[in-house]
Point group: D3
Chain length 175, copies 6
Amino acid sequence: MNGYACKENFTADDFFFAGLSKPGLTNNTFGSLVTGANVQKIPGLNTLGVSFSRIDYAPGGLNPPHTHPRATEIAFVLDGELEVGFITTTGTLYSKTVKKGEIFVFPKGLVHFQKNNGKVPAAVIVAFNSQLPGTQSIGATLFAAVPPVPDYVLSQAFQIGTKDVQKIKSRFAPK
Amino acid sequence: MNGYACKENFTADDFFFAGLSKPGLTNNTFGSLVTGANVQKIPGLNTLGVSFSRIDYAPGGLNPPHTHPRATEIAFVLDGELEVGFITTTGTLYSKTVKKGEIFVFPKGLVHFQKNNGKVPAAVIVAFNSQLPGTQSIGATLFAAVPPVPDYVLSQAFQIGTKDVQKIKSRFAPK
Amino acid sequence: MNGYACKENFTADDFFFAGLSKPGLTNNTFGSLVTGANVQKIPGLNTLGVSFSRIDYAPGGLNPPHTHPRATEIAFVLDGELEVGFITTTGTLYSKTVKKGEIFVFPKGLVHFQKNNGKVPAAVIVAFNSQLPGTQSIGATLFAAVPPVPDYVLSQAFQIGTKDVQKIKSRFAPK
Amino acid sequence: MNGYACKENFTADDFFFAGLSKPGLTNNTFGSLVTGANVQKIPGLNTLGVSFSRIDYAPGGLNPPHTHPRATEIAFVLDGELEVGFITTTGTLYSKTVKKGEIFVFPKGLVHFQKNNGKVPAAVIVAFNSQLPGTQSIGATLFAAVPPVPDYVLSQAFQIGTKDVQKIKSRFAPK
Amino acid sequence: MNGYACKENFTADDFFFAGLSKPGLTNNTFGSLVTGANVQKIPGLNTLGVSFSRIDYAPGGLNPPHTHPRATEIAFVLDGELEVGFITTTGTLYSKTVKKGEIFVFPKGLVHFQKNNGKVPAAVIVAFNSQLPGTQSIGATLFAAVPPVPDYVLSQAFQIGTKDVQKIKSRFAPK
Amino acid sequence: MNGYACKENFTADDFFFAGLSKPGLTNNTFGSLVTGANVQKIPGLNTLGVSFSRIDYAPGGLNPPHTHPRATEIAFVLDGELEVGFITTTGTLYSKTVKKGEIFVFPKGLVHFQKNNGKVPAAVIVAFNSQLPGTQSIGATLFAAVPPVPDYVLSQAFQIGTKDVQKIKSRFAPK
């Protein structure tokens, strides 16, 4: 039981989604927006093990370092140009600049990011081998959790003072 | 052992592919072309359980009824408009017209097709939850196998005469 | 949640089925009948990943080309002699005549068939590595779906005229 | 890598096996014989997750209590009549007498047995959801292991004296 | 649906268990006690595929030969010294004496045991790759099932007389 | 093929490991040390899906926030007392103080940490449902990758200046 119903009477609309057809709004802290097309939006995906997201990036926008606990990700660039990268469990960064129509793979569970270094918006469509891959954005996970991760844990983890920790926490605080 | 090597020294290029950036040539029998971006093209996908294909359709083009033995497929329309559909194991057709930016799901192993009824080319990017989903195009599988499926099997299967079978076989013969 | 209940109080009868002990009736269009012994008939199979079917064939009978979206099939000939075959994703037909007591394997998701070319009835017991493998019979899937697959899709798919399509559809129509 | 090769050039014979067509010899200690039709005999089964065995039983013959570490088993009676049973992890015996053409399920990993209480030979064809299910026959596993399980372990395990243990071991000794 | 609920409102206590902190009572037939820390005790383990047990052994105590139908086991010795072993499907015993802080692996589904030959109590913490591995203790499974496994099955299985069978059954009878 | 050999001739030592019996040295930056007991140390674990690690903590020691891309973790406290926690994909911290003999679960792929707030050393034994779970320590992954993650990515990701980024990088630099 995964929390999503097995409907009795499906229609073609249960396998359809129009919500990725328009660019997402990127006027936020990171200049990027992820829009999911997973089992929460497409009931017909239940048990089928695949989903999409669309990510839009303003010029300078960043999809900050994050992981997907339950899936590999493969990205296809719809528009623009992006610097993409992931870091392995042995600490090696694999990164590359990818352009419209090009593909890049982010292996299961590894920390990765995409950065729009260009002067025009960029967008990608990404696929996951999970109907609901989940996401942990590293910055928010550590500096904006509720209840908060203790300052002394973060101070020691990043080898910085608690004032520095509190400064970062303030940047992630809801406005 | 799945036949694909675990390389010792990966580079970022092993997770990269540029081969879907250009439309495929559609001047063929069906007016459509599938270009894969799977583990055969992207060594870094080995064991990661996901892949892409790009499909291009001329006006009137058809990606004829087929199955993927090892994967669900999810499609994102890059350009144009398509009539898409799949048939369930209980014989129900689920079909819909999908436009640029829209998504449709083809559940694992089921027969499905896409048809460009429009007057301009269309294109989709599709994702699979397999590094190598495999494809069986129904027409070619039955009428162009080597060695051939016997005429009497196809005659009985489609409730037509062997002359009709031979006519279809001739259409699928290499030219 | 797969739609089959986890019963609280099982008895031995939940792991038992007598419905394959008699030959199925084969006085139908194809001269063959498939009788399933899966989780729909045997509640104790729930989550256990295996099931049986019995297939009976009149002389000349055909189990027409079909796929199982969720399982490999392995067949044991109970009686008679059959021409069996499957086609791979690269278009190769593997076929063989198998007799009483012999075994043949149909790999996961591939199109396959069995034909009784003999003068006496034949029967097989087949096993699947799924509690409910599902079946798509190619002819009925394409030519008898509800709602119907459009004539122009089938005409293009099989490279025949729409009259030919309509003729095949009429053969698959309920009588 | 599971120890079985991915052949380059398969033929239909790689998916075929004739070794279950004749009854196995049952003139042994238990009056029963298991003949496997798994990946060790059928190379084409590699990675496909299913296999068969045939079991023959002399009158009075027993397939003694055993487990399959990697599979559920489903049995179809070819001939005769058998008392079959399995014991759950909560110590409940589910047993039944099954006749020609009837089916019984032995859930994954549980101890089970089949006994021919009739006056004529019996035979079953059984399927597993593994290409190589493995078998542990309880008696031989504990009383004929090499090197031997210590007498004091078996004495304590079955609450009998070491003389009793040695007596049982002698019955399982190679002759 | 596996019978365990997906709670809506988890707390940290759903991922916590204190029940393995004290030694289990070992004043029983076998001089050993298994205490589980699985999904039945820790609701947060649901779907997560791992669990612990603690096993305590009096001097001379035995965790008698048993199998786990759904998991591999790996043991870490907390205290004392144990003779441990498992038997393969080809009848080979792998055994070893392990001491405090040492580790031993019992592969999935195979019969295994642990015996405290020392003069002081021993204890282990064992992990399983299942949230609920299940256990079949061979002696009790065969000689104390309800309803009972017939005497003639056990007599033939262990090559002993029915009197011997009844003697063993009496030792396993509830007191 | 996972890179670990299927040995032909196993011995009991292939299922044994003594390397967790002694506390690890904790005189390092974080005051903690992880010692693995996985397939790299125990060849017999290959394909078996489970492994252990031992973690030692000096007073004040921290196992800094990290993820395991391929496994759930379950911890048993051997000595001392620890503050443990994980953060969900919706940004909730679940944390608790756990003592000797107590258990805590860290769900698959989520960021988690353990901190010794006590005045004496602490130690845990943790199990994973993977033979090689992999680890990404967040701080080192982002601030000590080779080649380095660009300053401007980290600056934007943590909403700090590049000087702050460089300060953190210097703390993670090899000495």
